[in-house]
């Protein structure tokens, strides 16, 4: 038997205390296989040991929530017996090592989470963060990540309809790749993972197991050092064709009564899937490891249990339906094998060559997983001052911003994604503040968006997280959708450091406060920690993925202009420039506090916009939220998109710079026809409204300041991404 040494424990990312806990649970020493199982089950990735305590505080309930966090994905009710299943998940570390495969398998994994629950994925989003473009690897990484995401989703035939892509030096050595998938299911056809049934067979289906990504789950929870790329961990390779077959086969089988419970094999593969199914159902499992289909010779039980080969599923089958099960999988050319049986012992027994290789108490292992209340302390932030404080005109500043990588037109990026397959994409990328996807064969549609401003979060994680939620809520309102629920992906550094733990706690608190106040529950999510290299952490990046509902998809808003339209701003403009993109891009300065956020006003303004889109659709031309870059950027985006022009008057007595570039929250640009009643409706709703100009000619004209032609605007705006992908 392998001797358990300090070194072995640290290779398994287990602390001495955790090992002592294992000894107490087992009342004996574990063997290597058992130690490996503990290590993945108790990894940050599977056990959420540093964040569990705080995640429990999030609001997860609403009358329309069918299933909150805890299952493979969250589920909400959207009426007419339809439900939406969605979740976001990170694949940050694998994507930094191998961007193409890392991102592709991230997409594959999140889609399996969705169709495991019986839902057909209908839309994917992805939220990306890269280092500075001048960093030598950035171009390689973004090209790999984007093709990986595209190739996988395109092949499976699920439209990739939106997301974000943001560059900042804090991601130079730790990029973020967060993938979100949304699926549709009938309310009475949802599948869960809790094992049920008496000695029912356990079926393995999908790809053969290889040595892919062994220790991936522990890798995903461990900080990088400079050797990481030398270590060349076995990365997982994605196979979207097999995923497509698995998707179709599972959905076909789900139309029969064969499947009792089902769980995809994600991080920690066979181990976490079997333990989770058993523990949720209070069951035991006898697993015959010799039955597992293998891709390579000579694999040990340890390797088999820890492998992260993609495109695999585990399910409990009603024995009466064994024949139909194998028929359907055969039809789709997939291998399905009975690998074990359920029992009531609550023990996990793994057999090989008729010998017990592992005998672990399932509930003790799962429910006694470590939970930490780690120390946290606010650290004063080293302020970044600009090097060059010289006077730069508003026009020059604007040009710098609109040409910057963070504002460049993303068409060359998202055109690599099939955003139209399934023929229900009503509004794809760049047409509005959220993507809008019709529920097939109905008048309903859903709106989808993902948001987070890490610069705000770094300065004040509580406010930053609140703003991320609010921005997400705003983007849904801006297309006319009722915001329903969110999924989140919490990306942070090393939680063992006080200041990082502070960021984590504060961000979760911020999400909680904003979600409670907006009645916008959290139904699923994911935590990615240890996003650090050589002790340098990323900015706190709690990405919020939001889902909203539109009753009648014909009543929606886009970011359109129309000749002679009247332009208004909803919400008060104070001119908050601290931490703005203006300060960042023009002066490389990140100082001060994020803009103030009044959640009551946010709600009022959002409700007004939604109501206006619904009731006054005939007089409405376009809506666009105002966020990073301020009013001028929102207007420029509209001008570029529609190839028309606007004529804007900065209101008297306002500081022009602040008014144009300020990032005050809860605001929208609204464009309406000449005959309209928007001012009256706004006043009745108690919402601040300001007329700022009209749609005229071609180009962006700020009266008494400057004018830029469309041609110049479009060229400046598209250069970065065009070069990036050429």
């Amino acid at each position: 038997m392998t001797k358990i040494t300090k070194k072995l424990l640290s290779q398994h990312n287990l602390t001495e205390e955790e090992y002592q806990k294992i000894l107490v649970i087992l009342n004996r020493k574990p063997n290597l296989l058992e130690l490996g199982i503990f290590s993945v089950m108790w990894s940050e990735h599977c056990s959420y040991k540093s964040t569990k305590k705080w995640l429990k505080t999030l609001p997860t309930k609403a009358p329309w929530v069918i299933c909150g966090p805890g299952e493979n994905a969250g589920v909400i009710d959207i009426g007419d017996n339809d439900a939406l299943v969605f979740k976001m998940e990170s694949h940050n570390h694998p994507s930094f090592i191998e961007p193409y495969q890392g991102a592709a398998t991230g997409v594959g994994g999140i889609m399996r989470d969705v169709f495991t629950m019986g839902a057909r994925p209908i839309a994917n989003l992805n939220s990306l963060r890269f280092g500075e473009p001048k960093n030598s690897r950035t171009n390689y990484l973004i090209n790999g990540v984007v093709s990986g995401i595209g190739d996988y989703g395109n092949c499976v035939g699920i439209p990739t309809v939106g997301g974000e892509c943001f560059f900042h030096e804090c991601y130079n050595n730790n990029i973020l790749v967060n993938a979100m998938s949304v699926g549709l299911v009938k309310k009475n056809k949802i599948f869960y993972s809790a094992a049920r049934g008496k000695s029912f067979p356990i079926i393995y289906v999908g790809a053969k197991t290889g040595r892919d990504g062994i220790h991936g789950a522990t890798m995903a929870s461990a900080e990088f050092d400079d050797d990481s790329s030398e270590n060349r961990p076995q990365v997982q390779v994605g196979d979207p064709f097999t995923e497509k077959l698995l998707l179709e086969a599972c959905l076909e089988l789900m139309n029969t009564k064969a499947i009792v419970s089902i769980q995809d094999m994600g991080a920690a593969g066979l181990t976490s899937s079997s333990f989770e199914m058993a523990s949720k159902g209070n069951k035991g499992i006898d697993l015959n490891i010799d039955k597992i289909p293998l891709r390579e010779k000579g694999m040990t039980p340890y390797e088999i249990m820890l492998s992260e080969t993609q495109e695999r599923m585990l399910m409990v089958i009603n024995p009466e339906y064994k024949k139909i099960t194998s028929e359907i999988f055969n039809k789709w050319g997939l291998e399905s094998v009975e690998v074990g049986r359920l029992n009531d012992t609550q023990q996990m027994k793994i057999f090989s060559k008729n010998k017990i290789q592992c005998n672990l108490p399932i509930n003790d292992l799962v429910k006694n997983s470590p939970e930490y209340d780690r120390n946290s302390k606010k650290k004063s932030i080293s302020v970044k001052y600009s090097s060059k404080k010289k006077d730069i005109s508003i026009k020059e500043s604007f040009k710098k911003i609109i040409s910057n990588e963070n504002f460049s037109n993303k068409r060359p990026l998202f055109s690599q994604y099939d955003f139209q397959v399934m023929a229900d994409t009503i509004l794809g990328p760049q047409e509005s503040d959220s993507a809008v996807i019709r529920i097939h064969n109905t008048n309903k549609a859903i709106a989808l968006t993902s948001d987070c401003n890490p610069i705000y979060c770094k300065a004040d994680p509580f406010y930053g997280a609140m703003i991320a939620v609010a921005e997400c809520w705003r983007n849904l309102c801006a297309v006319g959708a009722k915001p329903m629920a969110i999924t989140d992906n919490l990306n942070f550094g090393n939680p063992e450091k006080d200041e990082i733990m502070y960021e984590i706690k504060e961000s979760i608190r911020g999400i909680g406060v904003a979600c409670s106040s907006l009645n916008f529950p959290v139904v699923s999510g994911n935590v990615s920690l240890y996003n650090e290299t050589n002790g340098k952490s990323i900015y706190p990046t709690p990405v919020i993925g939001g889902v909203g509902l539109i009753k009648n998809y014909r009543k929606k808003a886009t970011i359109s202009l129309e000749e002679n339209g009247k332009i208004f701003v909803i919400g008060k403009t104070y001119g908050h420039l601290d931490l703005s993109m203006y300060k960042k891009i023009v002066f490389n300065e990140e100082t001060g506090q994020p803009p103030n956020l009044d959640l009551i006003q946010e709600k009022k303004n959002g409700n007004f916009i939604r109501n206006y889109i619904d009731k006054y659709n005939k007089e409405l031309i376009g809506v666009h939220d105002i966020s990073e870059g301020g009013i001028i950027i929102s207007l420029a985006e509209m001008v570029i998109k529609c190839n028309l022009g606007v004529n804007i008057k900065v209101p008297p007595k306002k500081n022009k710079k602040k008014w144009l570039f300020g990032e005050d929250q809860s605001r929208y640009v609204v464009v309406v026809r000449e005959k309209n009643c928007i001012e009256k409706v706004a006043k009745d709703a108690g919402v601040f409204i300001e007329s700022i100009g009209s749609v005229k000619g071609k180009g962006l004209k700020i009266e008494k300041l400057f004018e830029i032609s469309n041609k110049e605007l479009i060229n400046m705006n598209r250069k970065f991404f065009m070069d990036c992908f050429s």
Partner: protein, 225 residues
């Protein structure tokens, strides 16, 4: 009966079925690729997607499916066959259409709406005006039509090029060629004029709130049915 052949990895089959039902009010038979006997079919569609994962060369592995023997047999009897996107790739790989679709000039996948000039002199496009300019979505990374000079000349001489990429005003040149196709070819028919292959997706453009130029495409088929 209208048939759609479904391969493992097809993913525009449902969209196509919906489009046919909606625009032609006809029943659709989904034919699994292993079918060795297509009984009665007035028209056969080969849908878009990634049949067999698009491995090796897009379309090649699907040509080995039994249903494709049937498609070949029925095509000789004059049954209209329409391959869209991956379907077009399959039809060239099994020689029902000449040429081949290779990687795009910029090999990345490309999803966008493009302008097309339509030749209405085919059973598949008779509802269009001749040289009408329409807009349809494309979504592919292997849509770059290639054929040798002789084949190309005979396609042109026999008016077998049915769809061509162009500008909104109808200019046909390399600036309005999204993938590098020879002669801006987006869709062709065979010499007996009953087999059509096209890269754009008319089935994604049958909705007034999204795009609707695909409706005319399906309406053309109505006259034939």
């Amino acid at each position: 009966m209208i048939s759609i052949v479904v391969f493992p990895g097809s993913n525009c089959d449902r969209d196509l079925k919906v489009a046919i039902e909606k625009t032609l009010k006809k029943k659709v038979d989904m034919v699994w690729h292993k079918t060795a006997n297509i009984k009665k079919s007035d028209m056969i569609f080969i849908p878009g997607g990634f049949s067999f994962g698009d491995h090796l060369r897009a379309g090649i592995l699907a040509t080995k499916s039994p249903a494709m023997r049937e498609v070949e047999r029925l095509s000789k009897k004059g049954v209209p066959i329409i391959g869209i996107c991956n379907g077009f790739q399959i039809l060239t790989e099994c020689n029902l259409l000449p040429g081949i679709l290779i990687k795009n000039r910029n090999p990345k996948f490309l999803c966008k709406s493009v302008n097309l000039k339509v030749d209405n002199n085919s059973i598949f496009t008779s509802s269009f005006k001749n040289n009408q300019i329409i807009k349809l979505p494309i979504a592919h990374s292997q849509g770059n039509y290639f054929a040798d000079k002789k084949v190309l000349n005979s396609l042109e001489d026999n008016n077998q090029v049915i769809f061509r990429y162009c500008s909104a005003k109808g200019e046909i040149n390399s600036n309005f060629n999204p993938n590098g196709s020879m002669n801006n070819i987006a869709g062709i028919i065979n010499s007996s004029k009953n087999v059509l292959g096209l890269m754009p997706h008319p089935e994604r453009a049958i909705d007034l709130t999204i795009q609707d130029d695909g409706i005319l495409f399906f309406k053309s088929l109505k006259m034939y049915l």
